[in-house]
């Protein structure tokens, strides 16, 4: 660890921003480098003396490091307080839990809104295109900087699950176990298509200014909100939308205009407008691009099992949700079959729910009990009290 590396800690939980010196750049898949690199992170619990109880949680597309603490912008509870906390499957009394903002993000890690050292202005579109592997590489740098040799577990859902798979492919020797929830080994044509709609909405906003909106003192909020609205539909199942909203109206009678007559419209508009307060439009472009570029098999001669051939000592748990059509059970099965073919020790369960992809974050007792069972048995094998 370089002496130039510094960390700032806050009081509520551990964490802060790790600033890697310029001579420790993040080397990207594209060939470009990011230097200096900053990684913003939160930690919960204490690292044990053997350093064997560290858990890395990887966040989803629009998530961040505020895993189990109040979000500084929205004031809302952390995004996974259902799973991380006292008495919960990831208990800080037992584990040292780390969650870092992905590179390219907008909550403190280096991203398109960060200052480009070459121009002293925000990177905007001068920020290099990043990949899921680049995200995992930055996480690995942080984990090593924190003095951790091996992670007890790497855990993530959705895009976080893809980072988990990437860890298993790239750094299997650093993992004891891996939990991949509602993810896929590649982005499908449909996944890419939905992201393209979101990016097109952002770019169509006149305030986007070819990415240089920050210098102009404006924000493409309208475009970003539409992107969020389109994406949000993919996080819910058709039956959950029907159950929650049906054709219920906001007011008595129709407006005979284009106000939000239906409750589902109002809900989506709210999702869009609240999202822009906490997210950066260029980050959205870069992170969706990283997802679209994700194809783990392609990095291994088109054979997914090859990606896991060095991960035979890692204990895997793959979970999917029956009503998730964004990253469906079929895609989790592809992951499991590849793990089996590679001779890895894998558990897989499809959790029956009508909540769609969003079930990762919602009240889903079957998810809790699967996580609890898997983690407890892995912890026992790892010798964690």
């Amino acid at each position: 660890m370089s002496e130039a590396a510094t960390a700032t800690l806050d009081e509520a939980s551990g964490g802060g921003t790790w600033r890697f010196p310029a001579d420790q750049p993040l080397r990207l898949d594209s060939g470009a480098q990011i230097a200096p690199l900053e990684v913003a992170y939160k930690t919960y619990g204490k690292l044990n003396a053997d350093k064997t109880n560290a858990v890395l949680v990887c966040h989803a597309l629009t998530g961040d490091q505020y895993l189990a603490s109040t979000h500084p912008v929205t004031g809302k509870p952390g995004w996974w307080t259902r799973v991380v906390g006292p008495g919960l499957p990831l208990d800080p009394a037992r584990y040292f839990i780390i969650c870092s903002n992905v590179v390219g993000g907008c909550m403190g890690s280096t991203g398109p809104a960060s200052i480009n050292p070459e121009t002293s202005a925000p990177y905007a579109l001068a920020f290099p295109v990043i990949t899921i592997a680049d995200m995992a590489r930055a996480q690995k740098m942080l984990v090593e900087a924190l003095g951790i040799e091996t992670l007890f577990a790497v855990v993530g859902g959705s895009m976080g699950g893809m980072q988990v798979l990437q860890w298993a492919a790239d750094y299997p020797e650093k993992l004891f176990s891996a939990i991949c929830i509602a993810a896929a080994p590649r982005h499908s044509a449909q996944n890419i298509a939905f992201h393209e709609v979101g990016r097109a909405a952002i770019m169509a906003d006149p305030d986007w200014r070819a990415g240089a909106y920050e210098l102009a003192g404006v924000r493409p909020d309208k475009g970003l909100a539409v992107a969020r609205m389109a994406a949000h539909i993919t996080y819910l199942s058709e039956s959950a939308l029907q159950r929650k909203f049906g054709r219920e109206l906001q007011r008595d009678g129709l407006s005979w205009g284009f106000d939000a007559d239906f409750q589902v419209e109002s809900y989506l508009r709210h999702q869009g407008s609240s999202f822009v307060d906490r997210f950066d439009a260029n980050s959205y472009l870069y992170i969706t691009r990283a997802l679209d570029y994700f194809d783990l098999a392609a990095e291994h001669g088109g054979v997914l099992a090859q990606a896991f051939r060095k991960a035979r000592d890692v204990r895997f748990c793959v979970l999917s949700f029956s009503s998730d059509w964004l990253y469906s059970t079929a895609e989790s099965r592809d992951i499991v079959r590849a793990l089996n073919a590679a001779g890895c020790r894998a558990s897989f369960a499809e959790i029956t729910t009508d909540k769609g992809h969003d079930a990762i974050f919602l009240d889903e007792p079957a998810l809790d009990s699967a996580l609890r069972g898997f983690l407890a048995s892995a912890a026992e094998k790892r010798g964690l009290a």
Partner: protein, 218 residues
């Protein structure tokens, strides 16, 4: 809490399986057998189970389990990944029992397979005397709700083993609640008497001469 008494077929399987071996339990249910194998024989166990309830129970017990279908998902396991593959009383529920049986012995060096004997005298009697589909202790459900679609007699099963070039290393007759009784499954009398047959199988041909499958990765 005192542990529940171990089922007789599980007791026999525990006896057959070498300590410390790698075991795949196909149709592992809620993982009772896997847990016994792990706890009492130090086995490295993996389950395959179709039901959500079973899978959840296995995960809660800390067992490695994959939710999947024995008919379809065995193809994805690599050759000789396990020492034993266990298929307890479910071969007759498979769509393609012959394929499943040969897959078990591709994946594992040995297979432990139990099948209800449709040649047992109670079954024959029910059909002969009453002219109705038999309902016995081993086959408790009526024809319209049973999951059994490929029933066979002990002799049918041994003929299939011959067909697949499998060797029967051991066989025991099981009946509800009674200790397992070693038998020669090719004898006609056993085809009358046994309620369920439990077989330990291996390949007759030298496994090292069999070409490893190259199509599994992908």
């Amino acid at each position: 809490m005192s542990p529940a008494p171990v089922r007789e077929d599980f007791r026999e399987i525990l006896r057959l399986v070498r300590p410390g071996s790698r075991v795949l339990d196909v149709g592992c249910g809620e993982g009772e057998l896997l847990e016994l194998l792990t706890r009492e024989k130090g086995c490295d166990g993996q389950g395959l189970e179709i039901s959500t309830k079973g899978v959840s129970a296995c995960l809660a017990r800390g067992l490695a389990v994959v939710q999947g279908d024995g008919d379809r998902d065995l193809d994805h396991f690599p050759t000789q990944a396990f020492d034993y593959a266990i298929l307890s009383k479910t071969l007759q529920q498979m769509r393609e029992p012959k394929h499943v049986l040969s897959e078990l012995l591709r994946i594992a060096d040995k297979a432990v397979v139990s099948v209800p004997n449709f040649g047992q005298w109670r079954v024959r009697w029910a059909l002969l005397a009453k002219g109705r589909m038999p309902e016995t202790k081993a086959l408790p459900d009526p024809w319209y709700s049973t999951l059994n679609i490929h029933l066979c007699t002990l002799h049918d099963f041994t003929a299939l083993c011959d067909d697949l070039n499998l060797r029967i290393d051991a066989c025991a007759a099981l009946s509800n609640g009674k200790p397992a009784r070693p038998i020669d499954p090719t004898r006609a009398i056993e085809n009358w008497r046994a309620e369920t047959g439990l077989f330990l199988l291996s390949r007759k041909s030298d496994p090292t001469t069999a070409a490893p499958r190259q199509d599994l990765f992908g």
